[in-house]
């Protein structure tokens, strides 16, 4: 059981990781994905909230002339469903290609 948290400066493995160009590639690509997806979710959600606050009439419109449901319902449901799908997109890449890269870095570092 490794109950002691390793003192960072005592671990030379970290220095080796930093010298590995693959590590910088991993950080760059994964961070870009995470930030892009976060931006998509936040911009989408806060735009929606701004419409709710300032132009509620847009969401009140019926789906079609004889429809009881308003356009707001499918838009709202889409925000939930699409942001969930984006967690799938992130997990797919982070657990796929990026995880392989991480495993490679770990192997090269610890051998």
């Amino acid at each position: 059981m490794s109950s002691a948290i390793p003192k960072p400066s005592l671990n030379p493995a970290y220095e080796r990781v930093r010298r590995n160009p693959k590590f910088h590639e991993l950080v760059r690509r994964r961070s870009r994905l995470a930030l892009t997806l976060s931006a998509v979710v936040l911009v989408g959600y806060y735009s929606f909230m701004m419409v709710v606050a300032f132009a509620p009439g847009l969401l009140q419109k019926p789906l079609s002339d004889d429809s009881a449901l308003s356009v707001g319902f499918p838009i709202g449901a889409a925000i939930i469903v699409l942001s969930w799908l984006l967690t799938g997109v992130y997990s797919h890449f982070a657990n796929g290609a990026f995880q392989d890269l991480t495993d490679e870095i770990t192997r090269e570092t610890l051998q």
């Binding site: 959600y45 969401l59 429809s67 009881a68 709202g76 799938g88």
Partner: protein, 561 residues
């Protein structure tokens, strides 16, 4: 009385604020004082069956809980799918089911907007936090905050932050539990609070994280199952057409076609933003939610957990909205659910009851009993997680790391953590009974305000910003704590409701927009001005921490069994 407010046409943001914390808690201050109902035998029978099953699991878990790692994190042996269900269970509380559906029932589309706001935090938690939490954390969030900062000071501070959140939240849960159970089961308030306290202590002290997780998983499955069946029954009344539900709801609701669009609930953008920030980052920094990321073996499973969790939560939230819309017709036009049989008057049991009445209308007394039992189970599961998070802050952070400076044996630490959960259980019962007649809505704002303004800034900056120093973290944390508490005291929930002043000094219910911003600013400024030698060492240690947060190299390993 907040529950009633939901039904009044002039629902103010003050009323909205109590709903703010609905997803993660069990109907806290929202129920208000409720009338005791006749004893519901089928509900009690099904609840006893649930308790028997969970006690069986606790017995099994006890035999597998040997080390501190088993106790705090189930030995890191929970899979991503299981953890996803457990996280979803933490988030889909009795209050989500009751509160969000009643909001849709009362306000139509506005309730849906709230539901969406409760959801969007999850993708962000995945993108920015989940894998780093797993890679850096071991047992508690203080492990991360104190990784390269002063162990004694930051760990103490983080543990106090966690304990504050845990205690406030426990009170809210206990009061909610007592009132909900009085209402649904017809049991005495004190009996309900003691039952919750005793079971919580049994689960946690004997079964640790393994039992706590499985209780949460079982409850999540029951709640999802119940929600699906109820939605199916509701849809079948309308020929499985959402269009028919909407048409009928417009005809039945006093606001008519207005319920199909945004109303007045979120008309003030500052409140809306503060509310969603508090919810988003407050949730991310709740100790019993963060703790769940340490129960999986690695970052890969941590990511999967959030993917599954947000899938279950999103699905459940959509069901809840359909239920609320269906209830507008089925419950809202049926005199048997209104006091004195007056349609449009006061709902029997209060404003949070539409979904329960819907269960009775569609599935009879037996289904109502089932749903009531699930609601009770939900509270039990959430308080167990809270007690465990509190116990780990006391035993792991304060006792083992700060007081004994890492010299305590595992056996000693385990003993302290079990004693801590017992003390927390007694405290929860005592406070639950003491606060029975109090309006606890302000504790909800406080819980999320403190989590977002004290725990969150130090957590995120320690992971993302090299310049963070011990002094900066302490100064910012204290600024966040003082400002969050002050703003809640000056807000409507305390200043007007508790202290009986005519108007609030702080006009918003959720302080996060202001207190969190202040905490970040103070932390950054003080860190930048910090020229001490220890600050230099702390900044230098960031690079190693960064490697570990990205790769998991050096992170606590998975279960041995």
């Amino acid at each position: 009385m907040n529950a009633r407010k939901i039904l009044t046409p002039a629902l103010s943001l003050a009323g909205a604020a109590c709903l703010f914390a609905l997803p993660a808690l069990a109907a806290g201050g929202d129920l208000g004082a409720v009338d005791k109902q006749p004893v519901n035998l089928s509900a009690i029978g099904m609840f006893i069956a649930f308790v028997m099953m969970t006690l069986g699991i606790t017995y099994w878990a006890a035999s597998r809980t040997k080390s501190t790692s088993d106790f705090y994190t189930a030995g890191g042996g929970i899979t991503g799918f299981q953890n996803g269900l457990a996280i979803a269970g933490d988030y889909m509380s009795a209050a989500t089911l009751l509160g969000l559906s009643s909001l849709v029932f009362a306000k139509g589309y506005d309730g849906f907007v709230y539901t969406i706001s409760f959801f969007v935090g999850w993708p962000i938690i995945l993108f920015l936090l989940a894998e780093r939490l797993r890679n850096l954390g071991h047992f508690t969030f203080a492990d991360i905050a104190s990784y390269r900062l002063d162990q004694g000071k930051i760990r103490t501070f983080a543990a106090i932050g966690s304990l504050t959140v845990v205690c406030f939240y426990l009170i809210v849960q206990m009061v909610g539990a007592g009132q909900l159970i009085k209402l649904l089961f017809g049991l005495d308030y004190n009996v309900a609070v003691i039952v919750v306290g005793v079971l919580m202590v049994v689960y946690v002290t004997f079964g640790g994280m393994i039992a706590t997780t499985w209780v949460q998983i079982i409850k999540a499955v029951l709640l999802l199952g119940g929600g699906v069946v109820l939605t199916f029954l509701a849809l079948s009344r309308f020929g499985f057409s959402l269009e028919a539900i909407a048409k009928s709801a417009i005809a039945s609701h006093k606001d008519g076609v207005k319920i199909m669009g945004p109303g007045t609930l979120l008309a003030d953008p500052v409140s809306a933003v503060s509310l969603s920030l508090g919810l988003l980052f407050g949730t991310a920094a709740l100790p019993h939610i963060m703790m769940r990321f340490f129960t999986v073996p690695n970052a890969r499973e941590a990511r999967k957990s959030v993917f599954y969790a947000s899938g279950f939560i999103g699905f459940f939230f959509l069901l809840v909205c359909i239920l609320g819309m269906a209830a507008i017709t089925i419950v809202g036009t049926d005199p048997q659910f209104f006091e004195g049989g007056k349609v449009g008057g006061k709902l029997i049991g209060g404003g949070n009851m539409p979904v329960m009445h819907l269960a009775k209308a569609l599935g009879g007394d037996l289904f109502l009993g089932f749903l009531s039992a699930v609601a009770f189970a939900t509270i039990l599961a959430v308080v167990s997680g809270l007690a465990l998070a509190g116990a780990s802050a006391i035993a792991h952070d304060l006792y083992a790391r700060v007081i004994r400076k890492g010299e305590a044996t595992e056996r000693e630490e385990m003993r302290v953590s079990k004693m801590a959960s017992l003390v927390l259980g007694v405290l929860a019962v005592v406070l639950g009974i003491a606060f029975e007649k109090q309006n606890v809505a302000f504790l909800v704002g406080l819980t999320f305000g403190v989590a977002a303004s004290v725990n969150f800034p130090v957590l995120i900056l320690s992971m993302y910003w090299k310049g963070l120093t011990t002094r900066g973290a302490l100064a910012g944390g204290i600024a966040g704590l003082i400002s969050a508490v002050t703003m809640v005291v000056l807000s409507n929930a305390v200043w007007v409701v508790v202290l009986n002043n005519p108007a609030p000094i702080f006009p918003y219910e959720q302080p996060a927009l202001f207190s969190m911003t202040l905490a970040f600013l103070v932390t950054i400024i003080v860190s930048k001005l910090d020229r001490s030698a220890s600050a230099r060492a702390e900044r230098a240690a960031f690079d190693d921490q960064f490697v570990r947060s990205q790769t998991g190299i050096g992170a606590a390993a998975a279960a041995k069994h």
